[in-house]
């Protein structure tokens, strides 16, 4: 446990800690470009050079690579260090193009920030800058501007160490060095957008986000991806109520610094086909309803069926990608009305890798299981649904959310149900057979909580707004239940969460408003190990 002095402040750190991390512990910031906590430290940018006296006189050494040693004296603000920082910045900026007005990175550019904070010296260049390819498509998601590249090699190391796909390399030499893909390869790994995240300048940028918005105009909200059971923490950037970009949020418990391309770009698929009003389909014609009317209609239709044929004749097809609150209210409703519960969802058997992507493409199956266990309500899979329909027991089916991946047999069976009602945000082919559709909100338009496959509960927040008459699923179900005459009364999401915390033992003691930003683990550690 070496003790060292950083700017006249003593600090004791674990063996193996870099001087950079030791300085961070004392609150001192040392600027870096090539260093990233998730990747190896190459010390090639030289921006973190600080004066370190390890016993043989003060020398400039890279803080990200130098391990803290006993008795070291580190000065991060001495004239030598400052001059080193200014010189490094001068070299980096020597061939950097004057692109700020057209560069996507402006406003979140590490080079801009470091130059302004540590240098602000005018240029001494009296020569032409070196030119390199400017709009080089590296893959389906990434475009390279080689002139802006400062050759920190973060992208190269990412592809080597994290995805292990080795697509990128530094080619040529000296001032002509360039990042490019290995001959014959494109940047096609499933995390390619992470290279644009970690690129400190605007060299690697997202093709989908290119020129769409300036970052300082965007409103940034904390959210969670719902495209698989990993539930990566995200930031959602919106401009004038449109989602422009989804980027990963650092969460040491869930996704560290990364997010997969597919999850991040999922918001694009919801741009077309939104249900903004209720739909009544009758003999080929579609007739639209106001959202509140559609909830009442669904409620009264369900209550008619239940009165005539009993609760057992109504099926409720849950979606395990809905939030805890949505599923809790749905389960309460099913309990109250005596409905049959089935669990559908997206495929549970998709592509999986050992980085982030999980096979189960449903966000909240863990939470759903906790809730169903706690409420102790019988439920079954979609095969049972098909069987029950064929047996004639199901007269009305309420499908929650349209994004179900169902076997052919189940889809055919659903087509045979007398009345198919749906509560969905977005149109999918399965809903073609629905007679009545009530609209609800997309995950971006509401808040709630998910539990990922490891039992980690996270809260996600509303990023964009649409019609305020379209309600979140938990609220819509509550309204539907009340319209049908059942006692399911929820008007505030924190009430839903509070009721849920009382009934579900793993949520006990949690408060919706006090959940930490990184989420909290719901796993109990008993003497028998984690459940």
């Amino acid at each position: 446990m070496p003790t060292l002095k950083i700017n006249d402040q003593e600090v004791t750190v674990d063996q193996g800690t870099s001087v950079l991390d030791a300085a961070a512990e004392t609150g001192v910031e040392i600027p870096t470009f090539c260093y990233h906590p998730g990747l190896s430290a190459p010390a090639n940018c030289r921006m973190c050079l600080v004066e370190i006296d390890g016993g043989r006189g003060a020398q400039l050494m890279p803080a990200c690579y130098t391990q803290a040693g006993e008795g070291m004296v580190v000065k991060t603000d001495s004239p030598t260090t400052q001059e080193a920082q200014k010189s490094v910045l001068e070299f980096i900026l020597l061939n950097h193009p004057v692109d700020c007005p057209i560069c996507d990175q402006a406003g979140e550019c590490v080079l801009q920030d470091h130059y302004f904070d540590y240098s602000a010296r005018p240029s001494r260049l009296r020569h032409v800058k070196v030119h390199k390819p400017k709009v080089k498509i590296l893959g389906p998601n990434i475009v390279l501007d080689a002139e802006r590249c400062i050759l920190c090699t973060r992208c190269v190391r990412f592809c080597d160490e994290i995805t292990e796909t080795h697509e990128l390399r530094v080619t040529q030499r000296g001032e002509n060095s360039e990042i490019t893909t290995f001959p014959g390869l494109d940047l096609t790994n499933k995390y390619s957008l992470c290279t644009a995240d970690i690129c400190p300048v605007g060299a690697l940028t997202s093709r989908g986000f290119r020129f769409k918005a300036r970052v300082w105009n965007n409103k940034r909200t904390k959210s969670v991806c719902d495209q698989c059971s990993r539930n990566c923490s995200t930031f959602v950037d919106t401009l004038r109520n449109d989602v422009k970009r989804v980027s990963p949020r650092t969460n040491a418990e869930v996704n560290k610094w990364w997010a997969c391309d597919e999850g991040r770009m999922a918001f694009k698929k919801y741009e077309e086909g939104r249900f903004l009003r209720g739909q009544v389909r009758h003999e080929g014609t579609t007739h639209e309803l106001a959202p509140s009317d559609s909830y009442h209609r669904v409620g009264s239709q369900l209550s008619q069926t239940v009165e005539a044929h009993g609760g057992e004749s109504v099926g409720l097809l849950l979606h395990p990608s809905w939030s805890n609150e949505d599923l809790f209210v749905a389960s309460q409703f099913a309990l109250e009305a005596g409905l049959r519960l089935y669990v559908g969802g997206r495929t549970a058997d998709g592509y999986e890798d050992n980085i982030l992507i999980r096979a189960d493409k449903n966000a909240n199956r863990y939470g759903l299981n906790l809730i169903l266990d706690a409420i102790d309500i019988p439920n079954a899979g979609v095969d049972s649904l098909a069987a029950d329909i064929q047996a004639g027991t199901i007269r009305t089916l309420l499908i929650l959310d349209g994004e179900h991946t169902l076997p052919e047999s189940v889809i055919t069976a659903i087509g045979q149900v007398e009345e198919v009602v749906a509560l969905a945000a977005w149109h999918t082919p399965i809903l073609d057979v629905a007679h009545l559709i009530a609209p609800t909100r997309l995950v971006f338009e509401r808040g709630g909580s998910f539990v990922n496959f490891e039992g980690h509960l996270q809260r996600f927040h509303k990023t964009q707004m649409h019609d305020i008459n379209i309600l979140s699923p938990w609220h819509a179900l509550s309204t539907i239940a009340r319209a049908g005459g059942w006692d399911v009364q929820y008007d505030r999401i924190s009430d839903v969460f509070a009721s849920m915390a009382e009934m579900v033992p793993r949520f006990a003691g949690l408060d919706y408003q006090e959940l930490p930003g990184d989420g909290v683990s719901t796993e109990e550690t008993t003497s028998a190990g984690t459940i």
Partner: protein
């Protein structure tokens, strides 16, 4: 109960009088800049005055906490809107005081010059309006014509007459224009002529003198106790002028005198202002003669925008420009109270920086606020007809009080 016709009673014993409460303002021709005075009158005599201000409150100080250092500049224009350049300079000086920034010599002289131009426009407005309220319309128009010539100069230099935003932290928006001095010298004879006309119409005018002399009197002790400064304080005989007592910018290097009155009445305030205009013209002349050449802004790109050739052609200039505009300069932590001689008195800016891109707290000490809190001392016992010139001679500017 009085019985009419009783022995020894006069008509006055049977007149029921009571005090009347008169509401003057906020929308009133004599209430410049929206002020409400609730006067308790006994006939025409003012027994009590309750002054209500705040009709122009715009949340200036709260807004400044959300802006970057340079984004605050347009807000300062709208403080004393008759002399916006003085406000600009005062604010810039306060921030430069916190950061320890030393402005260039040429900048010091230009700031002095334009401050004096602004002071003249403010005094002309005050004198003209004062005359106008006393039904002397012509001197008002002559004054406004003189002011117009100066406004044209200011517009040539800064692009606007009122919303100038000329100062920047560390310097100015740009240097004087090439024709600035020439145009000033062209207009000067006409300005002198007009000021002379105003003086001949007003200063020895019987009606003007009767209305103004002896009305709105305040003693020096009261004035200091209430925090008065500027021409109002000087009219009572106290020699306090920030330019002389605590010289700032180039005021230590120019010759000028500070007129001081003796009676503390409206007439003295009028005379003080007239003389101050003459002295300001003297200062402007010396500024033109003694102004050194050189750069107007300091060289530090952390604070001042780089020149456009650098911004468009080098990445360093581009980044510096981008960061100063989008993020704001990082002024170190600290606080400072910086004061200048505004047209109405000591205009102070108390700025607190927490090391960020904008002020943590920004407070403006507008001289008119203190003048208004003491005005009841000047009007009590007088008549409404005396209130009008008194209120004018204070030169209350709503922007300064209410912010």
């Amino acid at each position: 109960m009085t019985v009419y016709g009783k022995e020894g009673h006069t008509a006055a014993d049977h007149l029921h009088t009571r005090e009347m409460i008169l509401n003057m303002g906020p929308a009133h021709p004599a209430m410049h800049g929206t002020v409400k005075m609730i006067l308790t009158l006994d006939g025409e005599t003012i027994k009590d005055a309750d002054i209500h201000v705040g009709y122009l409150h715009r949340g200036f100080e709260k807004m400044c906490e959300e802006q970057t250092w340079n984004q605050v500049m347009p807000y300062t224009d709208r403080l004393n809107y008759s002399s916006p350049l003085i406000n600009n300079m005062g604010y810039a000086m306060a921030v430069e005081k916190i950061a320890g920034i030393e402005i260039t010599p040429r900048c010091r002289w230009i700031r002095t010059l334009v401050s004096e131009l602004s002071r003249i426009t403010d005094h002309i407005t005050c004198i003209g309006a004062q005359a106008l309220e006393l039904a002397a319309y012509s001197p008002f128009l002559y004054g406004i014509e003189a002011r117009e010539l100066l406004y044209q100069l200011i517009e040539e230099l800064t692009g606007a007459r009122l919303t100038v935003s000329y100062a920047r932290i560390g310097g100015l928006r740009h240097d004087l224009t090439d024709t600035f001095e020439a145009h000033y010298r062209e207009r000067l004879p006409r300005i002198h002529q007009l000021l002379e006309d105003v003086h001949r119409l007003l200063t020895k005018n019987r009606i003007y003198y009767d209305r103004m002399a002896g009305t709105g009197v305040i003693s020096a002790e009261d004035a200091i106790d209430y925090g008065f400064s500027g021409p109002v304080l000087r009219s009572t005989g106290v020699t306090y002028d920030v330019r002389k007592n605590y010289p700032y910018l180039a005021y230590g290097d120019v010759d000028f005198e500070v007129p001081v009155g003796s009676e503390g009445d409206n007439y003295d305030r009028y005379l003080v202002r007239v003389e101050e205009i003459k002295q300001s013209l003297r200062i402007i002349d010396q500024c033109f003669k003694n102004m050194p050449d050189g750069p107007v802004n300091i060289e530090d790109w952390n604070v001042v925008l780089p020149p456009k050739e650098e911004v468009y052609n080098t990445i360093e200039g581009m980044i510096a420009h981008f960061k100063i505009i989008m993020h704001g300069s990082d002024i170190p932590e600290g606080e400072a109270y910086s004061y200048v001689e505004g047209a109405n008195g000591e205009l102070g800016f108390y700025v607190v920086s927490s090391g960020g891109r904008g002020p943590y707290k920004m407070h403006v000490r507008g001289p008119s606020l203190h003048l208004m809190q003491g005005i009841h001392k000047m009007i009590l016992g007088g008549m409404i007809a005396d209130l009008v010139p008194t209120f004018d001679s204070i030169n209350m500017i709503g922007g300064e009080i209410d912010r």
